[in-house]
Amino acid sequence: MNSLGLSKRPQDTRVVVAMSGGVDSSVTAAVLREEGYDVVGITLQLYDHGLALQKPGACCAGQDIYDARQVADRIGIPHYVLDYEGRFSQDVMDDFADSYLRGETPIPCVRCNQRVKFRDLLSTARDLGADALATGHYVRRIAGPQGAELHRAVDPAKDQSYFLFTTTREQLEFLRFPLGGLTKPETRALAERHGLEVAAKPDSQDICFVPNGNYAEVVAKLRPGSVEPGDIVHVDGRVLGRHKGVVHYTVGQRKGLGIGGIRGQEEEALYVVRLEPARRRVVVGPRRDLARSLVMVRDVNWLGPDLAPDLADSAGIEVSVKLRSAQPAAPALWRAGPDGTARVELLEAQHGIAPGQACVVYKGDRVLGGGWISGTAGGVAEGVEAGETAA
């Protein structure tokens, strides 16, 4: 058994490494190369970096392709660039824009992993005769009795399991994440030891195709004419002001509402409670109106042990769930429903749960699965709050 869990000698094991040009995937390639694997580097050109605004620190720009090639030359592996602009635009950017216009807060990085890296690139890796596809994600793949399991990274600050919940069992069998047991400083030290020029390159912070974090601008560019102004309305019905488009807002947002000075009763701060794109309304209210204890999810991907159907329907299973990438996981009861849906009952109400984000399910460090948040309920207000088109 080699270090990737395959019963072959490293030199007979072909591993495709998805190289973004950043330090993580560069180190992934260097480490596997050093172990003697037949490493093939592939960099995806995801969008025309000449058209999108250039900015340092985000992934996938022209500089990143150059960096990836430099690293490949340095460590002595073949390297290829694949043009995925068409499918990225269709499968990730269009979805991103449409999701925002539905009043949701999408996570395009998950879509990119799901529809580009782990579907199309993985298929290309198989065509190339590879035994595995390795990425620089901070997450652990652990061989379990019932097949590969997905676990949180050792370094909680870098854990990227939230972004990988759509990984299927079949994909997980083929995937490898050599950095899952490392901390970022350890990765950077390895980059330096291998003499990689990207050792000190900054981490990407934003969504790669959204320069300066201005999502609304990108949505307006992708869907011209779709960003329309409307009213900012208090939950009690009062119209408080105007907004330039619901895409500028996300549920739970407090700052930058454009209604400076206006506060609720008892001088409470106001938050975005929900978005109503069809009526072009941004609904705001005090923090207590954000509290939700029930989350509806759709398009569930399940990586955990098979659940007995009756158990899934009635009792549910005790798990912890993460409803935003930056939030800690919270205890909840997971009840699988029909057609890939589930109901998630939070033991304590949470604030600012946004449709379009992911609900990722953990048992300890293990990722059991997850789904997309389609709606919430069980707070102060009754009934399901959702993006208006959400099921």
Partner: protein, 379 residues
Amino acid sequence: MTAPFVPSFRRTGVYLDHNATAPLKPEVKAAMGQAMDLVGNPSSVHAFGRSARRAVEEARAAVAALVGVKPAQVLFTGSGTEANNFALRGFPGHRLLTSAIEHESVLAAQPDTERFGVSRDGVADLDDLERRLAGSDAPALVSLMLVNNETGVIQPVTDAARIAHARGALVHCDAVQAAGRLPLSPSDLGVDLMTLSAHKLGGPTGVGALILAEGLEPDALIRGGGQERRKRAGTENLLGIVGFGAAARLARDGLAETADLATLRDRLEREALTAMPRARVMGAGAARVANTSCLMLPGLPGETQVMTLDLAGVAVSAGSACSSGKVKPSHVLAAMGEDDRSAASAIRISLGWTSDDEAVDRFLTAWIAMARRSAPVDG
């Protein structure tokens, strides 16, 4: 750090991408090595300069002899792409018509270039050209390549020139992929301008030529010096030009070898199609140069094929690679009526002076293994 690791296949690989660039011939390398000892600037008055000038002019004569023109009709450029740009930008006010399968350096040289179509076999549609020419009396320049770089299909340049000249149009021919593979003469073809490139002939990269009909005066491409009849200023690329001259001499002597390439190429295609009946040879119904094969394997993207073969130590290409190395679906195959999927699933195998039976065998072994592994999706 140690020197970069060089995989063994990089040292022992099979090179079947002569249409991208041919390996430098040893005689060319020797001639360029000698030229490295030349000291002077060819424009200088002194004896050093004169000896450099002599080397340039000897090379010019050799290139001229390859295509049967006078040395004065040869203008050296920095590449075939530059020569194509030179030709298409040299006649302002002319309406430009090119075939849809030209090299990007013709298609993109000027905005608003009109394109005429090709048949399913990749042969220029001269009825389409004639109709378009008949539509206007404006002065025109028609550009048609002699050999397509992706399919190897020989284009009806003589007929195109006759049609164009009957309408008073100028005719340019990109003969980059024809030189050394077909007897080549602008006057026999009846064209006014012709593009050549050294590195497709076993010469160095970085040097090309534009052949001009006598008396034809395109606008200068680069100004600021008297070189190349004041039309392409800048100190001559002495080493490159000497290498071009040496390659041109060899090409003229070596046309007979192309028959052997045809034998190799035909065997390659025959055995590939026998092993994989779902594969297709593009342009097979048309006359082709001996060295080129455009082989489509439905269901497997050409770029994946190129990568797989590269990892097996066999170098071929797909579409036309841009500077980042990424591959676009072939506009040539699209113009031949192939849908996007098919146009993106072909590779180009191009043989040359280094190719032999062993190279073809190694290609076939790798290609057949790859084709068998890929599930037939739509084939």
